[in-house]
Amino acid sequence: MKILIAFLLILFASACMVIPTPEHRIAGRVPFDDEKTSFMVKDTTSKEEVLLNLGEPDLVLNRERIFVYRWEMVAAYFVIGGYGAGAVGPIQRPHFLIIEFNDKNIIRRHEVQASVFSSATPSVETFKKPQQDPSAPPS
């Protein structure tokens, strides 16, 4: 019985809390905010300009067709309180700047993806244009 009471005490005396905060960086790669990426213009900006403005990419895919830059921002803090112990830590939100080039090394598309639930780099497939239905009449 005493053990059960102790167990219940521990169970109900512990808690977990998530405190959302404005996104901020505490470590890791310098983020690419709007100011840093404003030079990029679709169908105009070259791969050379991208490299000279953003630096070496974290990932190069599809024979230099796709560049990926990754950085992390803190989106919230978790607080775990136990019986006589506790812990606090940041919840990181990975961001991916994905840039796609055409065969002339000019930007075709670029976008930022972010998710607090995934730390993996998005697959190339997620960035590809949706395939057009070949049976659909040309617009």
Partner: protein
């Protein structure tokens, strides 16, 4: 009520004391201008040849557009020897406690030492595993992008600190 006020005052005073004790992080030894001048002063647009750069920095991390653009991922580390597991753990513990405690004395000392005896090490796919401890305990990380003309002469370049 008085007791509560005293506790609050004591709390504010202790916070102020902590603020006084906090050292400031010295960024000068890891800043882009300093690192450029210290280790990359030979880079000159219109003059420096590709051979000289690869002789000094080794093979690049990546290359683009038929090798006309080279990318170097450089980390600032201790020169000349591999880091032991114990040294790596020591670095991690000291860095973590410095950032948590907001007292950067140890980090500033390390940065000063690296400015005197450190080196810029090029990370490549081939050495990532061998140099994992150095990569994880790096004091700073930089990106160097170099654009060459048809004769292999540097036309333009960009050097930037990307981490931390």
């Amino acid at each position: 009520m008085i007791c509560l006020r005293s506790v609050f005052l004591l709390f504010i005073m202790s916070l102020s004391l902590m603020a006084c004790a906090a050292d400031t992080l010295n960024e000068s030894f890891v800043s882009e201008p300093y690192v450029r001048e210290r280790w990359l002063s030979y880079l000159e647009d219109g003059k420096t040849k590709r051979e000289e750069i690869t002789r000094r920095l080794g093979e690049p991390t990546s290359s683009f557009q038929n090798n006309t653009i080279l990318g170097y991922r450089l980390i600032l580390v201790e020169e000349g020897r591999d880091l032991s597991e114990k040294e790596y753990q020591n670095v991690l513990i000291n860095v973590e406690s410095a950032y948590l405690g907001r007292y950067y004395g140890w980090v500033n000392d390390r940065r000063k030492q690296l400015s005197e005896k450190g080196t810029l090490f090029t990370i490549r796919e081939q050495n990532r595993e061998d140099k994992l401890l150095e990569i994880l305990s790096r004091e700073a990380e930089y990106s160097l992008v170099l654009v060459f003309d048809n004769q292999g002469t540097l036309t333009t370049h960009d050097f930037r600190r990307i981490m931390p």
